[in-house]
Point group: C2
Chain length 675, copies 2
C-alpha cells in the first residue's frame, strides 16, 4: 500500500515495505524514549541525538532528556544483540517500526538497524492540525545494497572536520553507510603521518587532519552506522607526496604541491624497491589508524609520461619483459595490494586495478561504468559503482536516480554474479567546491542516490522522488547542512550593499540558472586553480534549479493539454514576465559589482529567451501560430543565448521547455490553434 496513505509519507530512502493506516501518534513535550534488549553507549548517544533532532524538528522541550523504562515510553527501541565492534560490510541493517496512536516500537537485530529506524521515525514526524505527530505505519525495512557510500575529495580542496561531520549527519539521515575519504591528491596530502611527517608538512599547505582528528571522525561515523574507508591514490595523483619525498617519484623534480586541476605527469617509481619499503611502512601506519577492513589505493589516471622519460624505468621494463605502462602499473598495483593485504586489509581501487591475474579478493570501484562492473563480476570480482553518481558534474537528481548499480550489462548477470555488485558511491570531486558551497553540490541530490542504493529497485518514479526530495532537503538542513542557506550568503557577497529589489532580482537570476555540466567548466574562461576564489554566480547556483524544473513541468502539462488551460498559461506568463524584465533590474547592481557584472551575459540571455517564450505564449493564446519560417530563427536564438550564458560558465535549464513552447506554437504543433 506504499504511498497510498492519507498523509504523504516523506521517507527517503523509501522503506522496503510500508503499510500506512489512518490516525497518528501524538508527539508532544511528554515524548519519552526507551531502550530495551541489548544496549551500549553508542545507543545511549543515539538516543540523546535523536531527542536533540526531535527538538530541532519541533522545538518541543521534553520533560525528560533521559531515556525511561519501557512502560512509560512513547517510542520503545529494542536491539537484539551487538553489531560488530568494527562495522563490517554486509552486517544486518534491517529494522521494523510499528507506529500506532498509543505508541511506537522500533526493533532491530543490532544497533545498526536501530540507527536507521530512528532516522525513519524522525523523517515521519510532521505537523498536523492538532500538533506534531507521526502517521500510523508499519515498516519492515532493509537495504538493497550493503555498500552505500559518499566519497568526499579532501585533496583538491581541504574540508574542515566540521564540514565532514555535518555531512556524516546527512549520510546517517538517508542511511548511507560508507564514507570514502579521499585523502591524497596532486593538490594536497591531508592525513598526518608520524612515520613520514613531510607528507603532511610539505604536502598540505598546513591543511591536514591530525591523527587525533581522524580517530575522532571515525568514531563520529561509527556512532552513525557509517564505515570510513580511506583512499590514498597511487601511483598517480600523487604530486603532493613528492613535495616531501621526491625520491618516491619517477621524475627528477623538484616537486611542489600542484595548484592547477587536471591529470599530471608525476607518478611513483614502480621499479624502485625503496618505493615499496616506504609504502609498506606508510600503509602499515594508516592500516592501524583506519580500522575498516577495506583500504582504497586509487590507481586511476596515470599518464605514464614520467615513466617514459626515465631511462632506468625503461631499462627495468625491458629487463622484466613488461611490455607497456599498463603492465608496469599492474605490477605496481600488485605489489601495493600485497602490502595492503599484509597489513590486514582488503584493497579497493578504481577500474584500472582490474588486470589479469589480480586476486579475487580485491574490490573494483568503477568510475568507468556499469558495464565495466558487470565484466568484473563475470570474472568473480566484487565491485561498487560510481559512474553515474558523479555529483560534481551538475546532473539532475532524476538523472542520477535513473542509474542503477545493477543496470546496463549488470542486469544480465546471474543472481550469484549480481551479489558481487556491492552497491555504489556518490563521488564529490572538489575542484569547484569549498567549505562554503560543498553541501549544495552533495545535497539534496545525494538523498535520491541514497534511495537508489537502499530501496527496492522498483522505487524509481522520478515524480514521486521529487515530491519527497524538498521535504528531505529541509530536514537535512535542520542537521546543520548548509546546502540551501549558502546561496543567500553568496548572493549577498556578490551584491554588496544593495536594495531589497536588487537582491530579489539577483535571486531570480540565481534560481533560474545552473552551472555548465560535466567537465565543460574547465574549457570556459580562465584556467582555474586551487587559488581561484569560488565567489562567482556559477559557484552560487544550484546544480539543479528547482524553479526551472517546476516551470518546465508546467510547460509539459500545458502543452499536453493542447494549451487550453488558462490558469497554467497565466502561471507561465507571470514567470516569463519576471524573467524577461529581470536583466533591467540588475543593471545598476552590475555597474557596482564585478561579480554581478561577470554574470551579465547570462542575465541578458535569460531575459532574451524569456521574451522569445513570451512571444510563443502570445501566439498560442491568440491562436495565431508561427510559420515554420518564423519559428526557426527563434529556436536558433535560444542556442545563441545559451552560448552567451556559457561565457559565465552558466546554463539556462528552461531552454528545452522554451523550445517545446515554440514548437507547440508553430503551425502543426500541439497548440498551434489553442486560443
Amino acid at each position: 500500500m506504499r504511498a497510498q496513505s492519507p498523509a504523504p509519507i516523506n521517507l527517503m530512502p523509501m522503506a522496503a515495505k510500508l503499510q500506512a493506516g489512518s490516525g497518528s501518534l501524538k508527539v508532544d513535550e511528554n515524548f519519552r524514549l526507551s531502550f530495551t534488549g541489548y544496549t551500549e553507549p553508542r545507543l545511549k548517544r543515539a538516543g540523546k541525538r535523536f531527542l536533540e533532532q526531535l527538538h530541532a524538528r519541533t522545538a518541543l522541550v521534553f520533560a525528560s532528556r533521559e531515556t525511561v523504562d519501557p512502560a512509560k515510553a512513547t517510542l520503545v527501541v529494542t536491539a537484539d544483540q551487538a553489531s560488530k565492534a568494527i562495522q563490517e560490510l554486509g552486517e544486518d541493517e534491517s529494522y521494523t517500526l510499528e507506529v500506532t496512536p498509543s505508541g511506537a516500537k522500533l526493533h532491530a537485530a543490532n544497533p545498526l538497524g536501530v540507527l536507521h529506524g530512528l532516522q525513519s521515525f524522525l523523517q515521519l514526524v510532521t505537523i498536523t492540525p492538532e500538533g506534531f505527530g507521526v502517521p500510523m505505519v508499519s515498516i519492515q525495512d532493509q537495504p538493497r545494497f550493503a555498500w552505500r557510500g559518499l566519497m568526499i575529495d579532501c585533496g583538491r580542496h581541504f574540508m574542515p572536520i566540521a564540514v565532514l561531520e555535518r555531512n556524516l549527519d546527512g549520510m546517517e539521515a538517508v542511511k548511507l553507510n560508507v564514507f570514502h575519504w579521499h585523502l591524497s591528491e596532486n593538490q594536497g596530502f591531508r592525513a598526518e603521518s608520524h612515520k613520514y611527517p613531510k607528507l603532511h608538512e610539505l604536502g598540505s599547505d598546513g591543511l591536514y587532519y591530525t591523527q587525533e582528528e581522524i580517530r575522532g571522525l571515525i568514531e563520529y561515523a561509527r556512532d552513525r552506522g557509517i564505515r570510513v574507508v580511506p583512499e590514498f591514490d597511487m601511483p598517480g595523483h600523487s604530486t603532493a607526496w613528492f613535495a616531501g619525498y621526491p625520491e618516491l617519484a619517477s621524475g627528477t623534480g623538484p616537486y611542489q604541491v600542484e595548484r592547477k586541476w587536471g591529470i599530471f605527469d608525476p607518478a611513483m617509481n614502480p621499479t624502485d624497491e625503496k618505493t615499496y619499503k616506504f609504502l609498506n611502512e606508510f600503509i602499515g601506519e594508516m592500516a592501524k589508524l583506519f580500522p575498516d577492513a577495506f583500504f582504497h589505493i586509487g590507481g586511476d589516471e596515470v599518464n605514464g609520461k614520467e615513466w617514459d622519460a626515465n631511462p632506468s624505468i625503461q631499462a627495468y621494463k625491458k629487463a622484466h619483459a613488461i611490455k607497456d605502462n599498463i603492465g608496469l602499473q599492474a605490477y605496481f598495483s600488485g605489489r601495493v595490494q600485497e602490502l595492503v593485504v599484509k597489513h590486514g586489509k582488503t584493497p579497493v581501487g578504481w577500474d584500472e586495478i582490474l588486470v589479469p591475474g589480480v586476486p579475487k579478493s580485491i574490490v573494483v570501484h568503477s568510475w568507468r561504468g556499469a558495464d565495466s562492473l558487470a565484466a568484473a563480476a563475470k570474472q568473480g570480482y566484487r565491485g561498487i559503482l560510481s559512474n553515474g553518481y558523479y555529483i560534481d558534474l551538475g546532473w539532475s537528481a532524476a538523472r542520477h536516480y535513473a542509474v542503477d548499480p545493477l543496470g546496463g550489462a549488470a542486469a544480465n548477470l546471474s543472481r550469484e554474479e549480481q551479489k558481487l555488485v556491492l552497491g555504489g558511491e556518490a563521488t564529490m570531486w572538489s575542484e569547484y567546491v569549498n567549505a562554503e558551497n560543498i553541501d549544495s553540490r552533495i545535497w539534496p541530490r545525494t538523498a535520491a542516490i541514497a534511495e537508489r542504493f537502499w530501496s527496492p529497485a522498483d522505487v524509481r518514479n522520478p515524480a514521486w522522488m521529487y515530491s519527497r526530495l524538498p521535504v528531505v532537503s529541509e530536514r537535512l538542513e535542520e542537521l546543520g547542512l548548509t546546502h540551501r542557506i549558502y546561496q543567500q550568503r553568496m548572493m549577498e557577497r556578490m551584491a554588496g550593499p544593495a536594495s531589497p529589489e536588487e537582491l530579489a532580482a539577483l535571486r531570480t537570476l540565481v534560481e533560474a540558472l545552473e552551472p555548465v555540466k560535466d567537465y565543460s567548466r574547465e574549457k570556459l574562461g580562465q584556467e582555474p586553480t586551487s587559488q581561484t576564489p569560488l565567489n562567482r554566480l556559477v559557484d552560487a547556483v544550484d546544480p539543479e534549479s528547482e524553479a526551472s524544473r517546476l516551470f518546465s513541468s508546467v510547460v509539459d502539462d500545458y502543452v499536453a493539454g493542447s494549451c487550453r488551460d488558462a490558469a497554467k498559461a497565466g502561471e507561465l506568463r507571470g514567470r516569463l514576465v519576471q524573467w524577461a524584465g529581470n536583466d533591467a533590474r540588475l543593471r545598476l547592481l552590475a555597474e557596482r559589482s564585478f561579480l554581478v557584472k561577470e554574470a551579465g551575459p547570462a542575465s541578458l540571455a535569460l531575459s532574451q529567451v524569456a521574451e522569445v517564450a513570451l512571444g510563443a505564449l502570445d501566439r498560442i493564446t491568440q491562436g495565431v501560430p508561427f510559420t515554420p519560417e518564423l519559428e526557426k530563427p527563434l529556436v536558433d536564438s535560444l542556442k545563441t543565448s545559451e552560448m552567451q550564458a556559457h561565457k559565465a560558465q552558466l546554463t539556462i535549464p528552461v531552454l528545452a521547455a522554451f523550445q517545446r513552447l515554440l514548437e507547440a506554437a508553430t503551425a502543426g504543433g500541439a497548440c498551434a490553434n489553442a486560443k
Copy 2:
C-alpha cells in the same frame, strides 16, 4: 567630512573622526598582513581570524595565510605596547587607520585598539566594479564610553557555549567590550562549583557551564577585547540555589528549580551567619574563576514575602532595629559587598544596592533609568545604564538608539559627575529566547546600541543608522550569527511540507508582523513556562519588521508630498494588495498546521487592515476624501484588528502608517484632494 565620501562608509559604530577620499585599496589574493611594534600571541590569533573573516567576506584564497614583513604587506599593523594582562575598565582603546590606494596602516597604543581597528577595516571592505576594495579613509577613533556591554541571561534559558561564542564574535565586530554573564536565576544555576556542587547538579537540569568551559569562554572573550563580568543574583532570583542548598533560603521549602516566569518569593536568609559563610566560600571560588575586577551581585526584585513569613527573621529585624525589608536587603547587600571586596573585586549591582552609606567604590547598574543613574552620580557613584537597552522588549533599533547614558537628568550633570557614567549594557533577558532565536533578539539592533556607546553623541540620526544597519547585519551573519536565517528554519517548521507559494505567503505574514512589546506577552494566552516550546509565529517574527519600517517610510514621504507621487502610490498599492490577499493564500496551510492556524487571527487582521488602507489610497488617488464620519469607524477597525493580532501575541507595526493614510485621505487631511 563624515559620511560625505563618494562610496557610503558602512561603519557601525561610526568612527569618532573619519576623512574619506576618492580611490580605493584593492583587496585581492595577494593581500598580506603584517604586525610590527609590540606583538603577542593574541595578536597573532587576531591576524589569523582577520584573514579568515576577510576570506568569508570575499572568498579570496590568500597566497599567504601567515603574516609577512611590513615592506610586503597590504595592511601594516602597529601596536606600541601591551595592554593589561587582565583587561581593565578604561584602558586605551583608540586606534588610527590610514587607507590609501597603495596600502593601509593601522596604529594603536595597544592590542585593544588593534582589535577595534581590524574590525573597522573589515567593515570597510566592499565590492567594486573592479574587485574587492577598501575606500580611501583616514580614521582616528576611540570610544565615548569605557563600559559597552551585552548581558545574556543564561539562567532562564540555558545557552550553549557555541551561542555565546558567536555572540562574542558579534560583540567584537561592533566594538562592545563587556560580556555580562547572568549565571543564576530562579530557573537555573549555570556555573559549575567545586565547593558547592549541588548548586549546578540540582539547580540546572544538567545544563551548566563547566569551569573549563568558563575559562575557555573568558579566553575567547579576551582574544576579542572583551571583559567577562559574571553575575550571581542575590538575595532574590535565587530559587535554583535552594534546590541544592535549601538552608540558604528564608522559607521552609522544599525548593526545586522554578519553571514559570515572574518574580518569586524565595530569597536568601540575610539573618543567618551560615548564609555569609557559604557566600564567602562561593564568592571566593568564583572570584578566582573570573579574573575581571568587577563582580555583579544582582540584588533586584526581592518581594520580601519569605522574610515576612519567617519568625526568626522578623525577630532579627526587631532585635537589630531594621525597620523594613529594604533595610534588611541593604544589610544583606552590605555584607555581600564586603565579601566581594575581600576577594579582591569591585561589586556591581542593580539599582537596589544603592542605599545610604554604601561605599563609593560600588557600581550601580541601572534598570530603572538615566535619572536614577544621574542621582547616583551626584552622590559620587559610578553607574552603567541598561534601562532603554532592554532588547527583550521588542523595541525598534531607533528607540534604543535614541537613549543616551548621558540623557535625561544625566545631561545636567557636571563634567566630573558625567565621568561617573561608565556606559551601558544591552540586556537580553531570556524568557522568550532559546539557542534558535536568541540571535534575532540581539542583532542587528544591538549594533545600533553599540554605536550609541562608542560613537560621539552627535552621531544620532536614525535614518543614517538605518542606512548602515542592514549592511552590518549581513556582515554579522558572516561571523556565524543566525539572526536572519533562523526565520526560514522556523517558518518551515511551522509550515511542514508546503508549496513554494504557501511558504511565500507565510513569509509575507512573518515579515509584516512583530511580537507584542514590553511585558504584554505574559498577559496574553496561556501562562508560559520554561517548557513552553518557542515555535510559534511570535517566536519567528523579528522584533523590528524591516518590511513595515520601509513601507511606513514610503507612506511618510508620500503624505509629505501631498500624495502626488504616482510611483510611490503604485509601490504602496502593490504591497497593500499583497497583504490584503495574503490571508486567503494561507488558509489551506492553516488547516494543516496548528502553528499556522494559531496565527490565523493575526493573518486575517493584517489582510483586513490592508484592505482598509487600500480604500484610503483609492480615495486619495481618486480625489474623493472620506468624510470624518466615514473615517472614524475605519480608524476604529484598525484598533480592533490590532486586538485580533494580540490573540497570537503579535502586533501589526504598519497600523500607525495606515492611520496616517486614513487621516491624509479624510476631508481636511494632507492628501484629501490629491488625485
